[in-house]
Symmetry: C2
Subunit: 332 residues, 2 copies
């Protein structure tokens, strides 16, 4: 039983008066005739999401960033944040740095910090964010259709390479190490990109579990929404390798490590989205508008009847290999 089984089995009830409940990056609530309120919660635990000795300013940044990333994946404008925090002790230096990192990112995105709860306990950060989206304009996981192109922002794999460096699994040079650790510790939520993708993207998710795993969520939700099996997809290695190269380097020669970082590494908080081919130029135009690199990395295909898992193939040169739906699992 991994956390997806667990959520489906125990934590999912059909909503009675909510536009969209459990299962996407955030919930949608009809709060006014023109707009929907978008709300999401993410919890960060010491030893699971960050190291005990991590820079508290970075922890403050990241605890809000991963939540804003959920709003970005819905195309929402962030408005408010609440922080539930359990602390083993009240350490003034730690609190000043932590709250400074949180507040700086909030201010940069014009997010009001409006409440929360403070208690004693093993270090745990639970952030809730609220945002707004014009009614019907939210980017859902379930809108991908066969033929859509698959896009991703930035350079997936950077955060996983930073983690590999910290674990001693690879040794990066100075600039590469700095870029990878920056993405791991202080990811930038793609808020402006998410908003710009309204009306262009057919589906969107943020990459937190891993590229293939999160693509799998999109393919499953989209296939189910169309009343069938999960959709299939092809993913090209070349543009992913090019995106990583463009983000700096040099990266390790270890092909398995690189491939695992790019395809299965979580924690990048890039946006993975789909769009119909006629919107290719519109998407490409967003690079200049938002300043965020975008790569077209594959295509959505028709569902394979009776497939329980989304069938994803990786294209490398003239090789076409089925790949497992890799990704981080908290349980199981």
């Amino acid at each position: 039983m991994d956390e997806f089984d667990l959520i489906g089995r125990y934590f999912t009830r059909p909503p009675r008066h909510t536009a969209l409940g459990v299962g996407d990056d955030a919930a949608l609530i009809d709060t006014s005739p023109g707009f929907q309120t978008v709300v999401a919660t993410d919890m960060l635990v010491e030893g699971v999401h960050f190291f005990a000795d991590a820079d508290p300013r970075g922890i403050g940044h990241k605890s809000l960033a991963v939540n804003l990333s959920d709003l970005a994946a819905m195309g929402a404008l962030p408005r408010q944040a609440l922080l539930g925090i359990a602390l083993p002790a009240a350490d003034a230096d730690w609190l000043a740095a932590f709250s400074g990192g949180f507040a700086a990112l909030a201010a940069r995105h014009d997010v009001d910090w409006v409440g929360g709860d403070t208690t004693r306990g093993p270090l745990n950060l639970c952030v809730t964010v609220l945002g707004a989206v014009p009614r019907g304009a939210a980017l859902l996981r379930s809108g991908a259709r066969p033929g859509d192109e698959i896009w991703v922002s930035g350079a997936p794999g950077l955060a996983a390479l930073g983690l590999a460096q910290m674990r001693g699994d690879c040794t990066l040079g100075g600039a590469a190490r700095a870029a990878a650790l920056k993405r791991l510790h202080t990811p930038e939520p793609r808020v402006g990109l998410g908003i710009a993708l309204r009306g262009i993207a057919s589906a969107c998710i943020d990459v937190s579990d891993g590229l293939l795993a999160d693509l799998g969520h999109v393919l499953r939700a989209s296939g189910t929404a169309a009343g069938g099996s999960p959709l299939a997809a092809e993913v090209d290695w070349a543009p992913l390798a090019a995106a990583l190269a463009a983000a700096g380097g040099p990266w390790p020669d270890d092909a398995a490590l690189l491939r695992n970082a790019v395809l299965a590494g979580g924690d990048d908080y890039e946006l993975l989205f789909t769009a119909p081919p006629p919107r290719h130029a519109a998407v490409a135009g967003l690079v200049a508008q938002t300043g965020v690199p975008l790569s077209c990395i594959g295509r959505v295909d028709h569902a394979v009847p009776d497939a329980s898992a989304p069938p994803i193939h990786l294209i490398e040169g003239d090789r076409r290999t089925p790949v497992a739906n890799l990704g981080y699992r908290h349980f199981g």
Copy 2:
């Protein structure tokens, strides 16, 4: 540095586009011309808010109940809930009971369970609730005025007596024990009462830190809102003792234990509110309307110039004793 200092020093920023930010039971967001969205977060930690071996169904109930209590204290109608949960392991029996307790209370209040986050870690439950209130109708902590009567629902002290029983600090008879443990483990959020108090109460808070401590929050917020020192108050012991007697018993003879449970025990999740004397009959009429016992337990008085802490006096017969602003503190 207790958690109130900590929140004030590190976790409070002036909101830019939010009607009410940090400092009340919940935040208020203008989401439509007619209504405000009310949002609150409460975190529960194993060993702090519940025992490790507590009934998981009760933990599920309580984690939502304490949050609905924050909405009740604002006079809001609960609409949605999100659950962030850190679990040491995925235990199917525990999860079924926990989620059943959470979902049953949600269903009883017509609350949609719309999302959350599931992760591995020391057991921690962070619930966020959203509600709605007509614009301008929310019950704030800051509305009490000199001369207002002070009211409380139910029988404050019950939960603390349940805790004292569990710790071996007293031995209650069967019926008394059952009533006290029920209040401790499965408190009933006073949602209907909070809504009924709109337009009647001048200020409201839920009793989670302790009766005098939470009254202190009201007196401080109301004095500050009026541009001065915290307001003063007199609290009568007789109606509090009568409320406890009406809730069952027999209760322990230990006067110090009883007094501490009633005045400083947290975790009752009753509503403490103020109303002008001309509304006395309207408040008393709510007992029949809501089925919730209500007691008039004192009066708000004028601020004492230069008082840093709200001056509260306890009236017992013809004795008038200053009482410290007791209550639970997580730090310091």
